[in-house]
């Protein structure tokens, strides 16, 4: 399971950040936690980054050698590759507020 989805409506927030957000979600098989994480991520992206994000889902069970590159320890882990700097959000993204803070889409309160 390595699929890339590019959202539409990228021009909406282009003024703030013109580039395409590159997000990578690390999972280990189709576990409930992974599925929840993906669903939550998709929802957040559609709400805040519609049209200018790319999600890459990496299943470490299939590509274990990729874990070292992004220093993955916990599963699921969302890595914001772009924009810089690199950010990591660990967990199933159930807490949307914290996820937004983690992605730097909302300043920490």
């Amino acid at each position: 399971m390595k699929n890339t989805e590019v959202g539409d409506g990228a021009e909406a927030i282009a003024a703030v950040d013109p580039e395409v957000w590159e997000l990578r979600l690390y999972v280990a098989g189709q576990t409930p936690k992974s599925v929840t994480a993906f669903t939550n991520l998709k929802k957040i992206c559609e709400e805040h980054l519609a049209g200018r994000y790319r999600i890459e889902v990496i299943d470490l069970l299939e590509h274990p050698q990729l874990a070292a590159g992004d220093q993955i320890v916990a599963i699921p882990t969302l890595v914001r590759k772009l924009p810089e700097p690199l950010r990591k959000i660990v967990g199933d993204l159930r807490n949307t507020e914290r996820a937004l803070v983690g992605l730097n889409l909302r300043p920490a309160s």
Binding site: N40, A67, A68, I72, V73, R87, V90, G91, D92, N95
Partner: protein
């Protein structure tokens, strides 16, 4: 000590009876654990910062890969692979080479809290997968997690971490790898995060203490399930060959005593020691005040060993090797060829450089490397003799036991203060040593001389005599001392006594000769007198004979006269008148 004895006894068949073990290859550690760490299980190595946890773990992997054909995975939570490689290069470990040969895999797991936001539920499958991948890649049999507690500072949810660590250790066990997990020492507990709860098969505690500004590293096996092990604290070293633990209690009084004798290098001393010298494998103590010749005695012993072709390790704590060699040359002892031939090895350090344990560990290591037959400690004061520390003599006991186990003859010199030769602590030492030589000063008539006697020597008829001990340009010489009314005489007093005795002998000789001459004279006088007397006697006898002759002549004349008268009377019978006048004349003659 009892515990240790038990360990020693079970060493031989421990592998067969108790749980399987993975040898660490670390000098001494396998001895005290009875063969290594529990195979297929996790061991916890804990200790405060800088006590050598990472090195121990890395050596476990490197030795495993090199000596036991077991590849290993090192998961580093604190250092990068490059940093690790650099850090252990000084110990002679070439990580890059091992990585190239697929014998070692280093995975640096970096968990940066500032980069990480946590939202919701997660697990550590990422770590599991990485580890599993690493293990499968090189077929690892050994795994090190150094220091897994770093996860607690990177991730916030301690509840999840604890559950996941428990799962991790079970998973490692299922994988069948022998794991070493390191952890920081916590306040009042072995580890900061209480990891000892999860890793319960074997826990090793490392310690780095500074006593009197001297640091000492110690290792203790807190627990080792299912096996006997030494429970004491063992000093250990980290040097250019990695870690070596001094397995001091893994020896006991089980050594076999040799009846072979080895000469002391001093002929006079051998004579004192039943004519043959020391026993092989015995411990000889030489005590004496400053400058009493301890080092020289030791040098004789070392040289004798080298001349027999035996290796000798000379531990010098006061002088440099070249200084010792120079000084001994003045006694006619040339140690340099022995050094060149590799038979004699000096190891010179100041006693204050390390703590006692470190010294012992170093000696232990040297003995194992060099395998000497003879060992000299000069002086051994720094090794715990006369130390105020109670554990020092216990430590020394273990060292001596170790030397005896290996049949090494050890000579220890110690310096005593001049006022008292025997001190209370000597009582402890006495039980350790087999032969005790005492060098003492004798001060008499304004000079100081050396004397030697054998205080004790187990198992041989040794001399009870005091000998004068002289350092000459051809080595040490022992000579008899004079025992007179004034006591023991040495040095010039002895020479004076010798001179006096010679003088009186001469005098006695002269007396005898004089007496003989007088006797001769008397005999001559006597004989002269005898001759004189004989001459007198002869003169008298001559006179007597002359008188007798005259008398006889007169008698003859008288008789002839009478015969003539009678004849005349018979011829003139009528002439009576002629007869009468003759008679009165004869009467007259007789009366006169």
């Amino acid at each position: 000590m009892q515990e240790a004895k038990r360990t020693t006894r079970t060493n031989g068949n421990a592998a067969a009876r108790s749980l399987p073990k993975a040898p660490t290859g670390i000098g001494g550690l396998d001895e005290i654990t009875g063969g290594g760490l529990p195979r297929g299980r996790a061991s916890l190595v804990c200790g405060s910062a800088g006590c050598g946890k990472t090195l121990l773990a890395m050596e476990f992997l490197v030795r495993g890969a090199l000596q036991h054909g077991e590849p290993g995975v090192f998961v580093a939570f604190e250092e990068s692979a490059e940093e690790l490689a650099q850090n252990v290069r000084s110990l002679g470990f070439d990580l890059d080479r091992l990585v190239e040969q697929k014998k070692l895999l280093v995975d640096h797991v970096r968990v940066e809290r500032s980069e990480i936001e946590e939202t919701g539920d997660y697990d550590l499958d990422g770590l599991f997968i990485r580890l599993g991948h690493a293990i499968d890649t090189i077929g690892a049999k050994r795994v090190v997690l150094d220091t897994i507690e770093a996860l607690f500072s990177g991730l916030q949810n301690a509840a999840i971490l604890r559950a996941e660590l428990r799962r991790l250790f079970r998973w490692l066990k299922d994988k069948g790898v022998t794991a070493v997990i390191t952890a920081e020492r916590g306040e009042g507990s072995l580890t900061r995060q209480g990891l000892e709860e999860y890793v319960s098969d074997c826990v090793i505690l490392l310690d780095h203490r500074v006593i009197d500004q001297v640091s000492t590293r110690r290792l203790r096996i807190v627990k080792y399930r299912g096996t006997t092990h030494g429970t004491n604290e063992y000093p250990f070293l980290i040097d250019e060959d990695g870690i070596s633990v001094l397995p001091i209690t893994s020896v006991g009084l089980l050594h076999t005593a040799s009846s072979e004798r080895i000469p002391s290098g001093i002929a006079g001393l051998d004579a004192m020691l039943g004519g043959e010298g020391y026993y092989r494998g015995s411990t000889i103590l030489v005590t004496g005040t400053a400058g009493s010749g301890k080092s020289s005695t030791a040098a004789h012993f070392a040289l004798a060993a080298c001349q027999r072709g035996e290796r000798c390790l000379y531990m010098a704590f006061e002088e440099s090797p070249s200084q010792i060699m120079r000084n001994m040359r003045s006694l006619g002892l040339d140690l340099e060829p022995c050094v060149k031939k590799g038979l004699l090895r000096f190891h010179a350090t100041r006693p204050t450089v390390y703590g006692l344990e470190t010294h012992l560990a170093r000696i232990h290591k040297l003995v194992r490397e060099f395998e000497p037959k003879v060992l000299v400690f000069d002086p051994a004061n720094s090794l715990g003799f006369r130390s105020t520390r109670a554990d020092a003599s216990a430590m020394l006991t273990r060292l001596i036991d170790f030397l005896k186990m290996h049949g090494i003859t050890a000579m220890l010199t110690t310096m005593t203060s001049s006022e008292s030769i025997l001190e209370s602590s000597d009582a402890d030492i006495s039980s350790l040593v087999d032969t005790w030589l005492l060098l003492r000063d004798i001060e008499l008539s304004g000079e100081r001389n050396r004397a030697l006697y054998v205080l004790k020597s187990r198992g041989m008829a040794h001399s009870n005599q005091l000998r004068e001990f002289r350092l000459t340009d051809h080595g040490i010489e022992l000579s008899d001392v004079y025992l007179g009314a004034e006591g023991v005489l040495t040095g010039s007093a002895r020479l004076a006594q010798e001179a006096r005795e010679k003088a009186s002998a001469v005098r006695r000789q002269q007396d005898i000769e004089g007496k003989q001459r007088e006797l001769e004279r008397k005999r001559e006088a006597l004989e002269a007198r005898i001759t004189a007397l004989r001459k007198e006697f002869e003169a008298e006898a001559e006179e007597a004979r002359r008188v007798i002759g005259e008398e006889e002549t007169r008698e003859e004349v008288t008789r002839q006269d009478r015969e003539r008268m009678e004849a005349s009377r018979r011829a003139g019978a009528g002439r009576n008148s002629g007869e009468r006048p003759a008679r009165p004349r004869k009467v007259q003659e007789v009366r006169r």
